[in-house]
Amino acid sequence: MEELSLHILDLVQNSIGAAATRVGILIEEDVAADRFLFEVKDNGQGMDKELVREVLKPFTTTRTTRRVGLGLSLLDMAARQCDGGVEIDTEPGKGTRVRAVFRYSHWDRAPLGDIKTTLLTIIAANPELQLEYVHRVNGRIFRLDTEEIRTVLGGDIPLNNMAVLGWLDDYLAQSLAELYGGEE
C-alpha cells in the first residue's frame, strides 16, 4: 500500500468484519525516537491461538470468497522492511489489538497519507461505530471521539448525515493542520 493510512483503513475493515462496535485508532509519530507506530484495537470477536499464529503468514484467511488473506501479511511485510514489525494481542470473545511499528526515518516507510479521508470514509460507512482516534506528533496530540459528537448532535441525527460529514471534514482538516505545526 502506498500510504499507511490505507493500512489503517484496512485494519479497521478487519475489525468491522469481526463485528466490532468500538474501535480505537492510535498513531504516534516520534522523530526523536525515530519511530512511527499505529494501533487499531476493537471489541470484536477476536481470534483463537491457532489463527493468530498463522495470521501473519501470507495468506491466512477465514474469508470464503478468496483463498488468501492479504491485509495483515502485507502490513507485516511493510513494517519489517522498515526495521519494525506487527504485534497482535487478541482474545476470543473480547477483542483484538494490532500494532505496527516502523523506523520513522527508513527510506522505505510509506507516508501516513490521507488519514482524514480514511476517518471520514469509516465514519460515513459506519455511523453507529464508536470510534476513538488519538494522534500524537512529537508531543502534540489530537483526539477525536465520535461519542462526543453524538452527544452534541442528540439522538436523532446520525453521523452519516451529509451536513455532519461536511462539518467533520473541515474540523479534521483544521485539527490535523494544527497538529502538524500550526498554532497551539
Partner: protein, 123 residues
C-alpha cells in the same frame, strides 16, 4: 481553540439539520463499496470519498456502506447501487471520476451506466 469553535458550529448545525430531517431521511438508496484489502489497494477509499462528495454537492439522500472482498478482486474497486424496487447493479474498476457519473446517472435518475456493469442481481 479550533475544537471549541467547531463544537459550537456543530450545535448550530444540529438545529439547522433537525428542521429538514424528515425530508432528507426517507426512501433509501444504497451504495456499497468493496473495502477488502483488494478494494482498498485498488483505490476504494478515493472512490467512496468521491461518491460522498457528489452526494453532498447534489444534496442526495443515500446510504453509503462497505463490504469485504466478494471474490472479484481483479475488478475492484467494486461499487453496488441499489435503488428501492430495482435490480442491484455491480460496477467494476470504478475510478473517482466514474463514481461521479454513477451518482449523476444511476443514483439520481435510475439510468444504469452500462459500460461499467459487471453483474446484476434481483434484490
Amino acid at each position: 481553540m479550533t475544537a471549541l469553535k467547531n463544537l459550537d458550529d456543530l450545535r448550530k448545525l444540529r438545529e439547522r439539520v433537525k428542521e429538514d430531517l424528515n425530508e432528507r431521511f426517507g426512501g433509501e438508496i444504497k451504495i456499497i463499496v468493496g473495502m477488502g484489502t483488494c478494494g482498498i489497494a485498488a483505490g476504494a477509499r478515493e472512490v467512496m470519498a468521491a461518491i460522498l462528495n457528489e452526494l453532498r454537492l447534489r444534496n442526495i439522500n443515500a446510504t453509503v456502506t462497505q463490504t469485504g472482498c466478494i471474490g472479484m478482486c481483479e475488478r475492484e474497486p467494486l461499487v453496488d447501487i441499489v435503488r428501492p424496487g430495482e435490480k442491484r447493479i455491480t460496477y467494476g474498476r470504478v475510478t473517482p471520476r466514474d463514481a461521479k457519473r454513477l451518482v449523476a446517472e444511476h443514483v439520481l435518475h435510475g439510468r444504469v451506466v452500462e459500460d461499467l456493469v459487471v453483474a446484476r442481481f434481483e434484490e
